[in-house]
């Protein structure tokens, strides 16, 4: 299998995630996009793990860790979003500009 394909898939996912983070109004959507980016990283890691083929399967172990951390971050992200929602009844990131300059 050509190594480039999974890598392109990962890159595609990553960039779509970036687009999602920058453009969506809804905070939860931003979280979803972050998940996409992390998923992209895991694909990348597995591909490189296969390519390198080292005894410790570093790639795959690392991917596993990334997934765990991703899950943890979603948890925190949602907690923050809920907190903001309860205080302001709106999860629109544009309003979050109380502090500036």
């Amino acid at each position: 299998m050509q190594a480039a394909y999974p890598l392109t898939f990962a890159a595609l996912l990553f960039c779509v995630g970036v687009y999602g983070v920058l453009s969506r109004r809804h905070a939860v959507l931003v979280l979803m996009s972050v998940e996409l980016m992390l998923a992209a990283v895991t694909v990348n890691l597995v591909t490189f793990g296969a390519m390198v083929g080292d005894a410790l399967y570093t790639g795959q172990v690392f991917a596993l860790f990334v997934m765990a951390v991703g899950a943890a971050e979603v948890g925190i992200g949602l907690a923050i979003v809920l907190l903001i929602y309860r205080n302001r009844a709106s999860v629109n990131i544009d309003d979050a500009d109380l502090m500036k300059y």
């Binding site: 979050a96 500009d97 109380l98």
Partner: protein
Amino acid sequence: MSQVAWLIPALPAASALAIIFFGKRMPKGGAEVGILSLAIAFVLAVVVAIEVFSANVAAVADGGEAFLTTVGVELFPISAEAGINAGIRIDGLSAMMFLLVTFVSLMVHIYSLGYMAGEERFTWYFGLLSLFTMSMLILVVADNLMLLLVGWELVGVCSFLLIGFWWEQKSNSNAAIKAFLTTKSGDVGLVVGVITLWSVFGTFDISQIIAGVEAGAYNEGLLTFGLVALVLGVVGKSAQFPLHTWLPDAMAGPTPVSALIHAATMVTAGVFLIARLYPVYSAVPAAQATIAVIGAITLLMAGLLALVQDDVKKVLAYSTISQLGYMVAALGFSYTAGIFHLFTHGFFKALLFLGAGSIIHAAHSNNMSDMGGLAKVMPRTFYTFLIGSLALMAVPPLAGFWSKDEILVEAAAAGAYTGNLVLVLGAIGGAITVFYMTRVLYLVFAGEFRGYGHPHESPQTMTAPPVALAVPSLFIGLINLPLPAFQPYAFSAWTMFSTEYWVTHPIEFSPLIAFVAVTLAAAGFVVGRLMYRDAPVGDADPMLRLGLPTRILQEKYYLDRLYTDLITLTLVRDKLGAASVWLNDRVIDRIVYLAGAGTVGFGRGLYDVADQKGIDGLVNGVGQSTRWSGGRLRLAQSGNVQLYAGAMLAGVVVLAVVFAVG
């Protein structure tokens, strides 16, 4: 005895300290300490003089070396090899000066008892007098130029304090400041001169300098520059032309002060300095020529000014300047003539000033216009004043004749351009002197009293000193009779600095010059008597009706206006001072302030323009955002987290490209 001659300056110093600290509590307010100390000093001076003069006479007789003792100690090192030291140098000249200074100062002390009686700051006055005498004696006795410079400036400050004694009136303190600043500007020359001599000979010590000159190993041009610079100092201190304007104004001080300072001692300091360095001057003809010329100009210029003065003290002041001109001119070519005239002039000019003091005290005014007819009322003062005037007018048997005549003889002997100039101007000057003194005599003593109140003879203390001074005015001339037989025992021998100079420069008597001088004097007397017999005063005074010349003389050749108004007050203080302050506050300070404010401004500017216009502009330029109204956009920190994220990732992308390429 000369080893311990340093006592002479020490005595007045001790008395000065005593008076300043304990004067108030003394019965006579400190005056008695002053007089006592000076009396002892005078006695010591006489003893030293006898020792020195006899030694010199002996030296002349058996062809030995002139008397000279120097005792010195190093005060402090200024570099590994050089140092500043203080010491005394006793020779004929200093012995003579001891006599003159201590005697005149003693007379002034006694005289001041009466004159200054009842003065609020009586003790402070006597303290200053002692302080002044001390500094003059330091100047006289100093064995190195640096100590001489110290004495020189101390004398300047004391004269400032004495002239400005009644400093309540602004005019007095103005006069004092004027005196001090003019002499101080002269001192610039002195300082530069002393430094030049130091750099030429590598030492301040006078004897080493003289030895250096005789040895002949020195840089000719630099030495000339140094000596001419010293002359500038002399011009300032001895009130020669052009720095003479301060002396007449210095009359603002008490008269005894004028007598002491502006007749006998301080003003002669300049002449003394040239005499002290005579061997050096004689080695540099250019320097001697300058001296002669300056002396000649001064004696004539001052003499003319004396003609139009109404204030008796001002007349005497200008006459002093004129006589100093004589001395300086004399030193152009003859050592003995110069210092002899200095010696004699000291006595009779002090006498005249003390007399003038009594007159003013009696007439309660300085101006001759409200005096007159005082001969009858104040016989003792009149006779002593007369003797003084006759001596000044160089009437033959008296002191003035011998010393002034000697100058003319020496001038004639010297010949050449300067010698003849001094001879001619000297003679004319003599006539003018006689003329203005007769004017004074007639205006003050002849005719009726024009002032208010009724004058009376001064008390004993104020008439005794003039009498004491009258004696030397009468007979002092004889000590230097120009007869060859008498010369080895005469004044010239006493004060010579080297025997071979005494041999090569004898004192002769030329009947022709004597005759011419006396006839001129007589003519001056006759004209003076004619004009002033019936004491025409005020605008009736013939001299005041000469039109332009009178005005020029009254305006003192406009020199005063040039100095005080133009240079010191307007130009220096107001214009330059203000200009430099303006430069300081407006220009330099402003530049720095702008630099300081600049950075803050630059910071703010950078922050306003680059920071938020720059990055925001770029980001928004790309996005054709509809909702991004002008109001909302302000600064890069716009609070919108996605903008942050966007800016950050844009940065990452740019950096990635740079890295990839890099």
